[in-house]
């Protein structure tokens, strides 16, 4: 184990120091005497597996969760915020892992809620909008700020949450998985902003499961494992393999290699085929064939039409042109229910906000879709439910492995695993996965990729949206590249390589016009 290295002479002074943070939930120890130090102008990665206690540490720091023990000093002065409000007043701004904006308020109100510019007690709407525009411009975002937040995608909502926190951060900025729904390009924008803040002497705590990002921007790493401090060191002293070992407490199981070479297989039967499917102003009509035992990947930048494509396929959005054939029969897919009846399953990208039923147990959440498909008249017996839950808890390594725990009490990453399990449990003929590994730790990444391959070998057809090109090429038989809401390239066989995909994504856009936006 790595010990906290003693402060080097002449190093930046401590900005924030936590000593002996402990927290248990009803007998379960989520944090056990954790120490953490953040220096002035430092970007500090807080890492660990799903459920290691990262979010809990952050919430204990900002007073959202009452800690059992521990003291905290900001600039050498002891503070003990008891709510997010007090933390902000002390100079600590936070983007929490869960959505933390009001969906019904306008973008501008969300950015400035509680700190709107006022005159004689009245909000200066014009001034607020002007500032909101300026703030979002720093993040390269030009959207209608008077529109309600809920009219934007999760990624944009996340940028807005980050912008709010950045604007509030006087001394410390805490970002809990800010990049989980962002694209490479937006991550770059975020990093640029983080570097500016760093130069101003603000300390940043950065939680992520993308190790590349850690090495790209962080100065120091602190690793938690099972609620304990596993180690803390400068980035330079902790190469990737050591870091992974420190996080997992074991070696990473392999399985991330390239998929076995493509044999010239006889083209398997088409599970579903779409001709000229599209919707005006949503996605340009496209053709798509999904075959048993095949994985089709969708690649492209955020807003390029990947999620839109799968929503059309699943009937979550009604196409206004095109035809579908399922198992050789002409089919019309007008709603998700019809799609499910045809044997489709769809695990959406927004599962974090939309999918979970927080009060239900892990088991109940896992069997939900399967039960819905069987109908109320054919209930799953408790034994079957237990068996299914146990299987997926093991397969996806959901922690803690307790099927009877309300899912809302699981860590963010473990909730996502359970939602993935929900759709896997339905054993569909065609499974659509939108960003299946987002928010999931390195250890479980490998498990999920392995699972995708196994499903494929069992003859399931898969349609996967992913921004993790390195991963996509390890399991995809075919990759479709999207740009500006159109399918622009189709790579098969040996063409499925990261450089080829990148080239297709980056090809100079036909026009430099601003992106499509809702009217």
């Amino acid at each position: 184990m790595l010990a906290t290295s003693p402060p080097a002479a002449g190093a930046a002074p401590d900005l924030l120091a936590l000593i002996g943070f402990s927290k248990s939930f009803a007998g379960f120890t989520a944090l056990d005497r954790v120490d953490f130090t953040l220096k002035v102008g430092e970007i500090h990665a807080l890492l660990g597996e799903n459920g290691a206690g990262k979010s809990t540490l952050i919430k204990a720091m900002t007073g959202v969760v009452a800690r059992d023990a521990g003291t905290m000093r900001l600039d050498g002065i002891e503070i003990a915020p008891r709510s997010a409000e007090e933390a902000v007043r002390a100079g600590i701004a936070t983007v929490y892992q869960e959505v933390n904006l009001a969906p019904n308020l306008s973008v501008a109100q969300n950015l400035f809620l509680g700190r709107q510019p006022t005159r004689f007690g009245l909000v200066r709407e014009g001034e607020m909008r002007r500032r909101a525009r300026a703030l979002l411009a720093e993040f390269g975002l030009s959207i209608d700020i008077a529109a309600p937040l809920e009219s934007y995608s999760v990624a944009i909502q996340h940028i807005i949450a980050i912008a709010r926190a950045v604007d509030q951060s006087a001394r410390v900025l805490i970002l809990d998985e800010p990049t989980a729904s962002l694209d490479a390009q937006e991550v770059e924008v975020l990093f640029a902003v983080m570097r500016q803040l760093k130069a101003r002497g603000i300390g940043i705590v950065f939680v992520t499961h993308f190790l590349d990002q850690v090495y790209a921007i962080c100065d120091r790493i602190t690793v938690l494992r099972n609620g304990r401090l596993a180690g803390s060191a400068p980035v330079a002293d902790l190469p990737r393999l050591d870091l992974v070992r420190l996080m997992l407490g074991r070696e990473l199981s392999a399985a991330t290699g390239r998929r076995p070479p493509h044999e010239a297989r006889a083209p398997s039967t088409a599970v579903a085929a779409f001709r000229g499917l599209g919707k005006t102003g949503y996605v340009v009509p496209f053709d798509l064939t999904l075959r048993a035992g095949h994985v089709v990947g969708l690649a492209g930048l955020l807003g390029s039409g990947r999620t839109e494509t799968v929503r059309l396929v699943f009937g979550a959005e009604r196409a206004d042109c095109g035809a579908a054939q399922v198992a050789g029969q002409k089919a019309s897919i007008g709603s998700p229910r019809e799609a499910m009846a045809l044997g489709f399953g769809y695990c959406p990208e927004e599962r974090k906000t939309e999918g979970i039923v927080a009060e239900l147990t892990v088991r109940e959440n896992i069997v939900l879709a399967l039960q819905a498909r069987r109908g109320a008249l054919a209930p799953l017996s408790r034994r079957e439910q237990d068996a299914i839950a146990a299987k997926f808890i093991r397969l996806l390594d959901i922690r803690p492995p307790d099927p009877e725990r309300p899912i809302g009490l699981l860590s963010g990453g473990n909730q996502q695993k359970a939602l993935l399990a929900r759709w896997l449990a339905t054993a569909p003929q065609l499974l659509i996965l939108d960003e299946p590994t987002r928010g999931i730790d390195v250890g479980a990444h490998a498990e999920i990729i392995k699972l995708i391959r196994d499903l494929c070998a069992e003859g399931m057809a898969l349609l996967v949206v992913s921004s993790e090109l390195d991963e996509l090429v390890t399991y995809a038989d075919e990759v479709i590249v999207l740009r500006e809401r159109a399918h622009v390239a189709r790579l098969t066989g040996a063409q499925v390589e990261v450089p080829a995909i990148l080239a297709a994504i980056a090809e100079v856009p036909s026009s430099a016009s601003p992106p499509v936006r809702a009217a």
Partner: protein
């Protein structure tokens, strides 16, 4: 612009219904379309509009306040006793009752917040409590004969043709305007909407949710107290059975005015229109002279159904059209 119009659709619909109703009534009864009818509408429904303003805040924040009717009843009894029996000067009594109501509302808000109880239960308890206490104070109707009362009912803005803008109506208009400013133009108002959008997120955004909640219920109770004062001016008496069921009229007005019962969306002006529509139905019935006043309830019920269906429909449309995502500039 188009978008802000679409947010206003429910209010515009309510306005359309009110105008259509008014025109229809005027066609049936030619002397309906007069300033006098309008002024009476304002006076007769002043107390209801005042509580509806408070109720709008509560409902937008995702809560409900069932205690307002009882608070009005309690206020009238308290005022009658204080002025007539205990010899408290009327203005002093007004201040006293508003302070009592504020404390009552703050207590309900604090219980909802700190014990994490549903507003429905807490304010239901508040409703029984306030009604019970007013019975305890007196079970009879007590006339109020103070000079101020006689004076205030004389005091009015007179128009030609004998129609009058009375003090209760003036108070009500002031409350509606102040409510609009508070809800739409202040930080507090934005926090109220945020609470209705997501309580948890609002707390994480660093808003003092406890303070906001307590303030919302305090405001509702204070406005109920003010409505009670207006009610006692209007009837010149105090009676423990007055204003029974007014909380439901207020909720109906708020919903007819386009506020979502689940919170997060709504406008004060809509609630005002909702009250006026109910008043219009009542006036029509009194013009008719033959119809039972229960028809007012039936008409209100039907209207509620229609408006809730309409809301669900527009919400559905809005959700559908809204799915198209936005893009990012490099």
């Amino acid at each position: 612009m188009i978008r802000s119009l679409s947010r206003l659709t429910p209010v515009l619909a309510t306005l359309a219904v009110f105008l259509a109703g008014f025109i229809a009534c005027s066609l049936v009864y030619p002397n309906f379309a007069s300033l006098r009818v309008v002024m009476n509408l304002l006076t007769d429904n002043a107390f209801l509009a005042i509580v509806a303003v408070g109720m709008t805040f509560v409902i937008i924040s995702g809560g409900i306040d069932l205690s307002v009717g009882s608070v009005i009843g309690f206020t009238t009894v308290f005022l009658a006793l204080a002025i007539e029996r205990w010899g408290v000067p009327p203005l002093m009594a007004f201040v006293l009752i508003l302070v009592i109501c504020a404390a009552f509302g703050a207590a309900m808000g604090a219980i909802i917040q700190y014990f994490e109880l549903p507003a429905f239960i807490v304010t239901l308890a508040g409703m029984f409590l306030a009604r019970g206490v007013s019975f305890l104070l007196s079970t009879e109707s007590i006339p109020i004969t103070a000079d101020l009362y006689a004076h205030l009912s004389e005091h009015a803005f007179r128009f030609e043709g004998g129609s009058r803008l009375t003090v209760p109506a003036m108070i009500m208009i002031a409350v509606v305007l102040a409510g609009m400013v508070l809800l739409h133009l202040t930080r507090f108002g934005a926090n109220v909407y945020a609470l209705g959008g997501s309580r948890q997120a609002t707390a994480l955004m660093g808003i003092n949710v406890a303070r906001t909640t307590v303030l919302i219920y305090t405001l509702s109770s204070v406005l109920a107290g003010l409505a009670g004062i207006v009610f006692s001016l209007y009837t010149s008496s105090g009676y423990s059975l007055s204003a029974v069921g007014v909380e439901l009229d207020a909720i109906a007005a708020v919903v007819i005015g386009g506020t979502l019962l689940s919170g997060g969306y709504g406008f004060i002006f809509g609630s005002f229109l909702g009250v006026m529509i109910q008043g219009l139905i009542q006036t029509y019935i009194s013009f008719d002279g033959m119809l039972s006043s229960w028809w007012a309830k039936i008409a209100t019920g039907l209207l509620l159904f229609a408006f809730i269906a309409f809301q669900q429909f527009t919400l559905h449309l809005a959700r559908r059209s809204r799915r198209a995502p936005a893009g990012v500039h490099p």
